[in-house]
């Protein structure tokens, strides 16, 4: 061990004996100066409520309470009330779904007991409880469907369409199922049937069991099941229409032309109904996922086309045939059945949803309580401050009231989006565009929830903190030294990576090529120690240069922009909120940058062991670095790229900095440089995942480097 340190020392001294080291240091200083000229952060708009031309707290107080003025209490209360309604809707929906599922389980359990019981008299005793359970289920189902407090939603549950004169035999309608449920209840109540008969009827060919299950599914996932029943009916009606046409004009002595006409009208009606229903899922105020935007557009286009075909007059067989062929060609019907198949193939079963729902309800209720308490506390503060001389404190409290309403609506929105997308990966962001999912990233959403939750729980809002570092935006209302450092250190990191790679190539390939390594290898040290020493020396070089550039940019930034100690609320790994001073967060940022640099040092180590000539080693290293940056820009948010090192470097994004990569990337040269590092966070990723992936790559590179170097003949 000591001998390795000794070797490291000699290698390190050797590095600093090189004249190029001074050129490197000068380039680094120049980089910092250049970054001053590129650095041009936008000013963060002030969130503080400022009533114009008002000079004392009493005036502020009365304006705040005046329902007619802008930025008044009523406006914020309305926002809170609207959020409350959304939240109530989801809570009610979830509660009703859970109740329905419990009722369902209860019925199934009783029937099971009834079936297993051998004594006939005991068997009969279950009949009464079965009756009660079934009626309870039916009542709760109707209750859920009504959802009277939420009129917008009833449009979706109570969709009505006329099935025309020829309803499909196996029409998958909720009405059919509901009627079957009623029939079954009448059997249970019918004393002529024994309990054994009831069990047999339930499991028998009439499929009361299936109807019961479907009713439950419909209650829990009504939008989807409605859509499913519509598509099945479309498919059936089209089948009849086709058969009628195939049979020709006369079939079993009947004129088929009349039948064709009726079927054509029925089909047309149901297509229109389906189209309307699809529109309703988009225009309703609560986010609903039925299918992704691409499928949605295709289905809608095909529906409109087919409706147009069916609108044409048809008085002869050949005209009907043309319409039939057009619909067949459009491939609407296979697409619809494919879509209804897909959802359950993805394991999104109603029972699955129930588990998510219960946890959701608890969370949302807790937020509601927080908001109530905070509202009260802030109003009390405002009352106390109304006679203050300065308007500063009352303005801050009014701002808090405003931020409270914003925080609340944001957190509820995020929670609902996460709940709706629980079964999807981050690709939901691209797939469901236009459904309220624009610019939606699950990691970011989680992070925002943690931040907002911290605000609500501590009755402190974003105006108490600096924003996390961004490349082109101040963290506070004024630029400070850390904003500058965050930008500059990024540039310096690129420069140091290039230097460190060149240096490693020089220490190994360079010395191999010139032959000096032979004079080193004949010393009494194992080869593993020699390569370790070279790696350590490169690491010390990196640390020295990072420290050097940090100090210069800190001192420069301190004098130009000034210091700040207002804390930042950072969220570690989208789960833990930490209030941290910007200095400490900057140190963390620099440590993550060192992690990046070391990855490239190890990569260069492997390349330099594998390459025979110095120019080749440097070229390969730099090409790989550039390719990595290009991939970051092109595929920085692609799911497959999350297994590449590029997306698992720059760990600072896990310190509450995921916000940065959505829309806050600058333009021009600065923006381009930032994009080299900024990559997305997939829903499966977290800091440990990234450390594992980039660490695994590093270990493989190290293993190859050591193995090859030890075996090699010089």
């Amino acid at each position: 061990m000591t001998s390795t340190f000794k070797l490291t020392g000699t290698e390190f001294k050797k590095i600093f004996k090189r004249p190029s080291i001074f050129i490197m240091a000068i380039i680094l200083v120049v980089t910092i100066f250049v970054s001053i000229s590129i650095f041009n952060p936008s000013v963060l708009p002030s969130t503080t409520v400022n009533y114009e031309n008002l000079t004392n707290s009493t005036q502020y107080y009365s304006t705040f309470l005046d329902p007619l003025s802008a930025d008044s209490k009523i406006e914020y209360d309305n926002r809170i009330a609207k959020t409350n309604e959304t939240l109530q809707y989801y809570i009610a929906l979830n509660t009703n779904k859970t109740i329905l599922f419990d009722d369902y389980t209860n019925v199934i359990n009783i029937l099971d007991k009834m079936n297993k019981e051998s004594s006939l008299t005991v068997k009969e005793t279950y009949r009464q409880s079965l009756n009660t359970a079934l009626i309870e289920f039916r009542d709760d189902y109707l209750n859920l469907e009504a959802m009277v407090d939420f009129p917008e939603l009833t449009k979706l549950t109570k969709v009505k369409f006329d099935m025309g004169q020829y309803p499909a035999d196996n029409y998958y309608s909720k009405l059919t199922y509901f009627n079957k449920l009623n029939t079954f209840i009448s059997y249970v109540q019918d004393n002529k049937k024994t309990s054994q008969d009831i069990v047999e009827i339930f499991n028998g060919p009439e499929n009361y069991k299936g109807a019961f299950e479907e009713t439950m599914n419909h209650g829990i996932d009504f939008v989807y099941t409605t859509f499913k029943s519509l598509t099945h009916s479309i498919s059936d009606l089209f089948q009849y229409y086709q058969t009628a046409i195939d049979n020709g004009l006369n079939y079993q002595g009947q004129n088929q032309l009349q039948l064709m006409k009726i079927l054509k009208e029925d089909l047309s009606e149901i297509l229109v109904a389906t189209n309307d229903y699809l529109k309703l899922t988009i225009t309703n105020p609560y986010p609903i996922i039925l299918m992704n935007s691409e499928d949605y557009l295709t289905v809608q286009r095909l529906l409109t086309d087919c409706i147009d075909y069916l609108k044409q007059d048809a008085t002869t067989l050949s005209q009907h045939e043309t319409i039939k062929d057009d619909i067949n060609k459009s491939l609407l019907i296979p697409l619809l059945s494919d879509l209804t198949y897909k959802k359950y193939a993805n394991n999104i079963t109603p029972i699955h949803q129930i588990h998510i729902n219960t946890a959701m309800t608890d969370k949302l209720t807790a937020y509601q309580d927080n908001v109530k308490n905070n509202q009260k506390a802030i109003i009390e503060n405002i009352n106390n401050l109304k006679n203050d001389e300065s308007t500063k404190n009352i303005a801050k409290e009014i701002t808090n009231y405003k931020l409270l309403s914003e925080t609340y609506s944001e957190i509820v929105n995020d929670e609902i989006l996460l709940y709706l997308t629980a079964d999807y990966d981050n690709s939901v962001y691209t797939k469901f565009q236009g459904y309220g999912f624009d610019k939606f990233n699950k990691y970011e959403s989680k992070e925002r929830i943690v931040t907002n939750k911290y605000y609500l729980e501590n009755n402190k809002y974003e105006n108490s903190y600096l924003k996390n570092f961004a490349y082109n935006q101040n963290s506070g209302e004024k630029t400070n030294v850390f904003d500058f450092m965050y930008f500059t250190m990024e540039l310096c990191t690129i420069v140091i990576i290039v230097f460190a790679m060149m240096l490693v190539c020089n220490l190994i390939t360079g010395e191999t090529e010139s032959g000096t390594i032979k004079l080193l290898l004949v010393r009494p040290y194992k080869r593993s120690k020699i390569i370790t020493a070279k790696l350590f020396a490169a690491i010390f070089f990196v640390l020295t240069f990072v420290l050097f550039s940090s100090l210069i940019s800190f001192v420069g930034g301190y004098f130009v922009y000034g210091y700040t100690s207002t804390p930042i609320l950072a969220v570690l790994n989208s789960s833990t909120p930490i209030e941290i001073s910007p200095l400490a967060l900057m140190i963390i940022n620099i440590l993550t940058l060192i992690f990046d640099i070391l990855f490239f040092v190890i990569l260069a180590l492997m390349i330099s062991v594998l390459c025979k000539n110095y120019a080749g080693a440097i070229t390969t290293s730099l090409v790989i670095l550039i390719v990595n940056f290009a991939l970051n820009i092109l595929f920085g948010r692609a799911f497959w790229y999350s297994l590449f090192p590029g997306m698992n470097l720059h760990l600072f994004k896990y310190f509450g900095n995921a916000f940065v990569f959505e829309g806050s990337v600058g333009s021009g040269l600065a923006g381009l440089i930032q994009q080299l590092f900024i990559t997305g966070i997939e829903s499966s990723m977290n800091i440990w995942f990234s450390i594992l992936i980039s660490g695994a790559y590093s270990l493989v590179f190290l293993a190859i480097s050591y193995a090859v170097f030890q075996k090699r003949d010089f």
């Binding site: 004996k17 004079l519 004949v522 010393r523 009494p524 010089f714």
Partner: protein, 312 residues
Amino acid sequence: MEKVILDVSNVTKTFGNRVAVNNVSFTIKEGEIFGFLGPNGAGKTTTMKMICGLTSITKGQIRICNYDMPKDSEKALQFVGALIENPLMYPNMTGLDNLKYYASLYKNISKDDIIKYARVVGLEQRLKDKLKTYSLGMKQRLGIAQALLHSPKLLVLDEPLSGLDPNGVKEMRDFLKTLAREYKIAILISSHMLSDMEQICDTIGIINNGQLLEIRSITSLRESIEGAKRIQIRVDYPNFAGKILVNELQIKADIAGNRVLAYTTEDKITEITQRLLNYGISIFGIEIVSKSLEQIFLEIINNKTRGKTNIV
């Protein structure tokens, strides 16, 4: 009994299908200078690289001061100072910095030691200059200085005399001899110049195509030279003179033109001339003709190689 410093036994090195060194064995004792003699590409450098741990050993065993290479390389290499191929050091550092760098790889080498060895190789005045200003000979000497810094027991020098001017060669020769005699350092030296080797080495190993053909002490080589001496006498009747030598003096003789070649030593010259003059033969000239070391060397290579070919 002198200690064996380097023991190479049955060492083979192959690069793919090519056999670079084939079953080579030899030993070097303390204070002995062993010369590796052979044409370019004979396997001299590869063998030296194996000794120094620069190249892996395909088969066989190398022991330095009883430590196995490469298993105990950390211990074995403590006793080795080496200069393999061109002594390339760091051109941007001064001579002193270069030496300091190599000294820092060992324990307890003081600056005085460094200066001492610099003086020994005659570079004391130029230590403060950057290496890139040095001549080839100076670099060579600095290379030897770095190999000596830690007082090794075995010095491995690959072509140390190439690039030196005649004066430099002489100095280096004397210097290496002193090292061996006074400091009891075992030296392994390689060259393709026989004349150099003859004057430095105690033992010479002749290597060709990866095979160590023969190990001869320099004394035995000299004896071969002595033994190969002939006396060439130009006479008017060579056939008659030949008969006299064979029949009366029992000296083996050949006839070539007007010359008689007598296979004998110089002390017989008086006797031969007296006898020939007695028979009335006129003598026009007497010369001592000796075989050169080169000829012996080539004969060894040719004989062994031919012998090998015959067996095959």
